[in-house]
């Protein structure tokens, strides 16, 4: 008998973990509450640092899912411990007895309208990073109308106590630099500004991308937060910021403002967390057993975590985390259900 593993969440972490667990010989069941697999990756156009097409990466993840049972448009209705396992009832009426559960519920983008001073949803030419990716994918957005001056605001809803998030979202700096270059490529006459607090170019090739943005694309980086945005009568935006390098207030008129909305713990993930009785840490993400040595284990036996459910991560980090979770689950199941990997059975199939 093969052990059942339930994966909650069909984003990149869920896909990567299920493919690995399936390959390890478990019976994997993936539940996704929306109607498509791929999570935020499916909505993105290209990926930093080298502009890899997101669709290619997603196709690769989906391509190794043979044998995994996927339920989209499905919610977890209840989940209860039953002996060593978990009895899970799904909204489509199916009941599963899962020996291990992997929670990969990911993140939600910060709702940029909550930073009202930036005017998202109020002014005509303010968009978010996600809107811009959608525009790159489809070429359609009424708010983007041959802009000649474009601004990117870093850290919208991140590193901002007032908006309820002290931590860094990790991906926005690199995304902003990537998107700024892409916009320059799309509108070669445009002047592009990035308003940042710090540029956190921590990953491999990120510094190269930042250098190219300045050298090859002429992006102007201004260290200072945007204070407020107002709309002029002609529809252009008047942006007030502080240039902390020269210690002077600054005012520019822009045709398009892109807000780099950060990461927040996903609302649907919080629901799963409360069903399981899992604790959140102060930042709202799930608590892990040990942040150094057991990052993929929750304090509840048999419940594993991966990806952005335990804090903001880049895509490669998320995938690595998912693979880590797969090996952790494998170890756990072999320890707790030793008969599951019956040696005779294994020899019979392997030889």
């Amino acid at each position: 008998m093969r052990n059942n593993v339930l994966i909650i969440g069909g984003g990149p972490a869920g896909l990567e973990a299920s493919a690995n667990l399936q390959r390890l010989g478990y019976n994997v069941l993936l539940v996704e509450h929306s109607n498509t697999l791929g999570g935020h990756l499916g909505k993105w156009d290209r990926l930093f640092p080298s502009g890899t097409p997101a669709s290619g990466a997603l196709d690769k993840l989906l391509g190794s899912m043979d044998g995994v049972k996927c339920f989209t448009d499905t919610e977890i209705q209840s989940i209860n411990r039953l002996g060593k396992s978990y009895n899970v009832i799904l909204s489509n009426g199916i009941t599963v007895l899962a020996d291990a559960v992997l929670v990969v519920t990911g993140f939600d983008l910060f709702q940029a309208e909550k930073k009202e001073e930036y005017g998202y949803g109020i002014y005509d030419h303010v968009i978010t990073n996600a809107d811009l990716e959608q525009y790159f994918k489809t070429g359609l957005d009424a708010r983007i109308n041959a802009p000649r001056k474009i601004g990117f605001v870093h850290c919208v809803g991140s590193r901002d106590e007032k908006s309820g998030c002290r931590s860094c979202s990790k991906v926005c700096c690199a995304t902003a630099v990537k998107q700024a270059c892409e916009m320059k490529a799309a509108f070669p006459d445009a002047q592009i500004y990035c308003f940042y607090m710090d540029l956190r170019m921590f990953g491999r090739h990120y510094e190269d991308m930042y250098l190219e943005a300045q050298r090859d694309y002429g992006i102007r980086f201004i260290r200072g937060r945007v204070a407020e945005v107002s709309e002029n009568i002609d529809g252009s935006l008047s942006v007030k910021a502080e240039d902390t390098v020269s210690s002077k207030p600054l005012k520019v008129s822009l045709d398009l403002l892109v807000l780099m909305a950060g990461m927040r713990p996903s609302v649907s993930g919080q629901r799963i967390g409360s069903l399981l009785g899992m604790q959140n840490e102060k930042d709202g993400y799930f608590e892990v057993l040990s942040e150094i040595t057991s990052q993929q284990r929750s304090p509840i036996p048999g419940i594993f975590l991966a990806g952005a459910a335990t804090g903001p991560k880049t895509l490669p980090d998320t995938l690595a985390d998912a693979r880590g979770a797969a090996t952790q689950i494998d170890k756990y199941l072999s320890d707790i259900f030793p008969k599951a990997k019956d040696l005779k059975q294994l020899i019979k199939t392997a030889w």
């Binding site: 009202e116 001073e117 109020i122 002014y123 106590e161 709309e231």
Partner: protein
């Protein structure tokens, strides 16, 4: 009441003319009482002189002249009765608690007054220095006995009144004892932790009246009494036979009184007399300029530590923050605990609710501002931006409505959005739209950015910095030539109205201005069935007493439902600029509590009239939060 004989030799000359009463002479048991009250009287006399000398010259003149002003004098008398004796402000909110306080205060007051009347009527000689000596019957029922066969109806009437008020006080004391253990029954979720002196005074106060009942009951057959003391007396005779040893009870009664008076200056009960001075100061319009001296001293000793501000304080959604309440701030001011004083002063949100709900209107936020001023006012500031800030006036190009043209010429309106409205652009958008719809000719004072109105600086105790920004704004407003100043931020509104002295310029909040436009028929609003709840911003409601204008308008556009706490009991949104150190986490807890309180009647929309409240609520609420002007634009034809 019985005579306290201070000088036994003089008192020995008991007057022979008294025929219906037998006054007797000195007894040792009065010593504890005389010692306690002498100490107390000296203490308050010295304190009074100190407070008066600490006032600056202008304040002192203002105080003396206020006493001569008949209007203030009338107000003083009314306030002294209502606030000190009847506690009407507590009655209005919590009747049982009001009964408790007024029973003890008014009851005791009446016992003292009636006691003096009894002395004046029945042993008049003792009031005269020449004949009776320096001898005054405080313990009347010990020292003045009825001559057998001389009971009068008039005497019985006073005996009845004395017993009645004693019973009245005893019911109050009973409630007070009960409140120590179950305060929630009297409407208080939290109650103050008494200090050591408070406890000494508290327990002696509890004991005074039961002991008085016992003492007077023991002598009621000799000194006279009514339903209570005589009844008790019969019971005591029944229990203990013919001979009653009353001395121990009079001793105990005197000791309790003496202890109470001796502990009073160090306890919260100092408020009983200090609040008289504070009410006179308050009505004279004096404001504390120092957190500890002069007016402030009267104010902090007027605090009765009743703890009504504990439940009022929005910070107390978390029990750990109880220590930042005004009552403890004042206690630490009394004790000169500088570290805690500074910490608590900075924590406060300055929502003013403790001031609004205080039975004697102790203005703790003003004390906190004065405290902040001691550290913040002299910090160095860079004022260069005041000169460089481009204060340009932008006249909006408005197509004129021919039909409204006749009315719109006379008044040009100056609109000052302020920093906070600039962070909530939907307010500015809605206000401009409404101006255009009503055909108001307006000048947008700070479209290109302005400078701070000064209120946040004042709240932080930066008086000098505030004065500089206020001067800069003042010249900008004067230069505009406008006669009406409209503000969309209550924080600006309060300071423009109260501190700027803009003679000849009418300062209005946009809720008031749009109500006028609607009343004049310039704005037409339609009613929908939308369930609306209105949140009173602190600075607009408690700060400027604007409660009805926004409600009147909102009733015309939707179905206005009630919040849990409204008007002056409204809960701060948690975003207040007033606090210098409260953490975001604590603020969020307050915001969530305020939203929960606003949505008890399941409204579809929360409406507020302050950009800061709007922003704070929008970030946390699941119910849509809208600005007052935004709601009007949605309902304007």
């Amino acid at each position: 009441m019985m005579p306290a004989n201070i000088f036994p030799i003089l008192a020995a000359q008991a007057s022979p003319e008294v025929i219906d009463r037998i006054p007797s002479s000195y007894s040792h048991f009065v010593i504890p009482f005389v010692a306690g009250i002498t100490f107390f009287l000296v203490w308050i006399f010295v304190g009074l002189i100190r407070v008066l000398t600490q006032l600056n010259h202008d304040d002192r003149m203002q105080f003396w002249t206020s006493l001569l002003n008949p209007i203030t004098a009338g107000k003083n008398i009314r306030d002294l009765f209502c606030d000190c004796l009847f506690h009407t402000k507590i009655w209005q909110r919590k009747p049982l608690l009001g009964y408790m306080h007024s029973a003890i205060a008014f009851g005791w007051f009446m016992l003292i007054v009636l006691g003096h009347i009894e002395v004046a009527l029945f042993v008049p000689k003792h009031l005269s220095y020449g004949e009776g000596g320096l001898f005054y019957p405080i313990f009347y029922r010990y020292f003045v006995w009825i001559r057998p066969g001389h009971e009068t109806l008039r005497g019985a009437f006073f005996f009845f009144l004395m017993d009645f008020f004693l019973l009245y006080v005893l019911t109050g004391i009973g409630l007070a004892m009960f409140k120590r253990f179950r305060s929630i029954v009297l409407g208080m979720r939290h109650t103050t932790k008494p200090s050591l002196a408070d406890r000494v005074a508290l327990y002696s106060l509890w004991m005074i009246f039961p002991l008085r009942l016992l003492a007077e009951s023991f002598t009621a057959d000799l000194s006279g009494g009514s339903f209570l003391t005589l009844g008790m007396n019969h019971l005591l005779h029944f229990l203990f036979g013919d001979k009653l040893y009353f001395q121990p009870f009079w001793w105990a009664y005197s000791i309790c009184l003496g202890t109470f008076f001796a502990a009073m200056p160090f306890s919260r009960y100092m408020h009983i007399l200090t609040e008289v001075l504070w009410i006179l100061f308050r009505n004279a319009g004096l404001k504390p300029s120092h957190p500890r001296k002069g007016v402030a001293e009267a104010e902090i000793y007027a605090c009765s530590s009743c703890g009504l501000c504990l439940d009022a304080c929005p910070m107390n959604v978390q029990k750990k923050n109880l220590k930042y309440s005004s009552v403890y701030f004042i206690r630490f001011l009394r004790r000169h605990n500088e570290r805690k004083i500074a910490e608590i002063a900075d924590k406060c949100l300055m929502c003013d609710k403790c001031h609004a709900l205080c039975p004697v209107s102790v203005d703790a936020p003003a004390l906190r501002r004065a405290q902040r001023q001691t550290t913040n006012d002299h910090l160095p500031y860079d004022y260069s931006y005041l000169d460089t800030a481009p204060v340009k006036l932008h006249e909006a190009a408005i197509p004129r409505h021919p039909e409204l043209d006749s009315g719109s010429d006379s008044s040009k309106v100056l609109y000052f959005a302020g920093c906070m409205s600039h962070l909530t652009p939907r307010i500015i958008k809605a206000v401009e739209e409404l101006f255009k719809k009503a055909g108001t000719e307006y000048v947008f004072a700070d479209r290109e950015g302005g400078i701070c109105c000064g209120r946040p600086l004042l709240l932080a105790g930066k008086k000098e910095a505030a004065a500089k920004t206020m001067d800069a704004n003042k010249s900008m407003i004067k230069a505009s030539g406008c006669k009406t100043l409209v503000l969309s931020c209550p924080i600006c509104y309060k300071v423009f109205k109260e501190e700027y002295n803009l003679a000849g310029i009418r300062v209005v909040h946009y809720t008031q201005y749009f109500k006028e436009l609607i009343d004049a028929g310039k704005l037409n609003v339609g009613k929908s069935g939308e369930k609306i709840v209105y949140h009173d911003p602190c600075e607009l409601g408690r700060g400027c007493n604007v409660y009805e204008e926004p409600r009147t308008v909102l009733r015309q556009v939707g179905d206005l439902v009630k919040a849990g706490h409204e008007y002056d009991e409204s809960i701060c949104c948690g975003g207040s600029l007033g606090s210098l150190t409260l953490s975001q986490n604590d603020r969020r807890k307050i915001t969530d509590a305020a939203i929960k309180d606003l949505t008890i009647a399941f409204p579809e929309t929360i409406v507020t009239a302050c950009p800061l409240c709007l922003k704070t609520f929008s970030e946390r609420s699941t119910v849509p939060v809208k600005d007052f002007a935004e709601v009007l634009t949605n309902h304007c034809g």
